[in-house]
Point group: C2
């Protein structure tokens, strides 16, 4: 199958300049303020966005330069298949976060609950719609008994590329 | 900012060979069976996946050949900014669906609730974890009074590329 090329729509600005110490999920970043700077050519796509409370952001994990299929997640101490984790070190470095929209002003979106690095390239904004996006299940595999810790857990160095390897 | 290069991890197989008549969200496809065929090089990433009930799939909307910033969504009759919709005709043709995992057998994942075209290139699999991914809000903008209709609504021709334009 052919490779796919995407172009950044803009950048996500956050307080996080390095991976160590970051929240590992947006539920661990409640109230943390950031903002999205959209490129001017996409402004018309923001119509009606102000009416939404939560947005799904898909973005490029741009500091990840290598992928692993087996990772030790921040919430665990043993290796797990990467597709059973939210680890950034994935075959395609796509990040997914749900952020709270505070305000839209021209090309700028003020948001909260940001858990990505400052300057992260934004690839898509989708509305979070509970009628589409909420699922309830107890079958969460290795996350059982661990997931709640994401509220307090912070990233460490394990997914930080060696010096010189980061873009 | 530089373009981003992704490679398909495999393909998603579904009963849908054309856009018209498809469900427009996975909540409109409950119980519809499909399967994922992962490329052999990624098999180790599937460890621990079998313990999960729901997976988030990110995929390439490969039949979309053009983007629009203003679209008339399937659930509405007036134009909306594309980032306030789940329309497939987006600047980056990334699709997002939550599917129910039924079984994992080698490189094959049997899933339900599929709402994408047969042969869709898969870009990422993430675990759906209610503690991370559930948000409750009434502030859903133009979806208010419309979102529930996604269970019954079916796609029509509006996002189908003209003949000869589709890959």
């Amino acid at each position: 199958m052919e490779p796919i090329f995407l172009r950044p729509l803009g950048a996500i600005h956050t307080p996080y300049r390095e991976i160590a110490g970051m929240p590992i999920q947006s539920v661990g970043a409640v109230g943390v303020a950031g903002w999205i700077e959209l490129a001017p050519e996409f402004q018309a796509g923001l119509q009606d966005v102000a009416g939404l409370e939560y947005l799904i952001l898909i973005y490029h994990l741009h500091r990840q330069t290598s992928a692993r299929l087996s990772v030790i997640p921040f919430l665990d101490n043993q290796p797990r298949g990467v597709f059973a984790t939210r680890s950034p070190q994935r075959p395609n470095a796509l990040g997914l976060s749900i952020v709270r929209l505070v305000a839209v002003d021209g090309l700028r979106l003020d948001v909260e609950d940001v858990d990505m690095l400052d300057g992260t390239p934004l690839l898509d904004i989708k509305p979070y719609v509970p009628a589409f996006d909420v699922r309830h299940t107890e079958r969460v595999g290795w996350f059982a008994g661990n997931a709640h810790r994401a509220v307090q857990a912070r990233a460490d160095e394990r997914f930080t590329p060696p010096a010189g390897e980061a873009a």
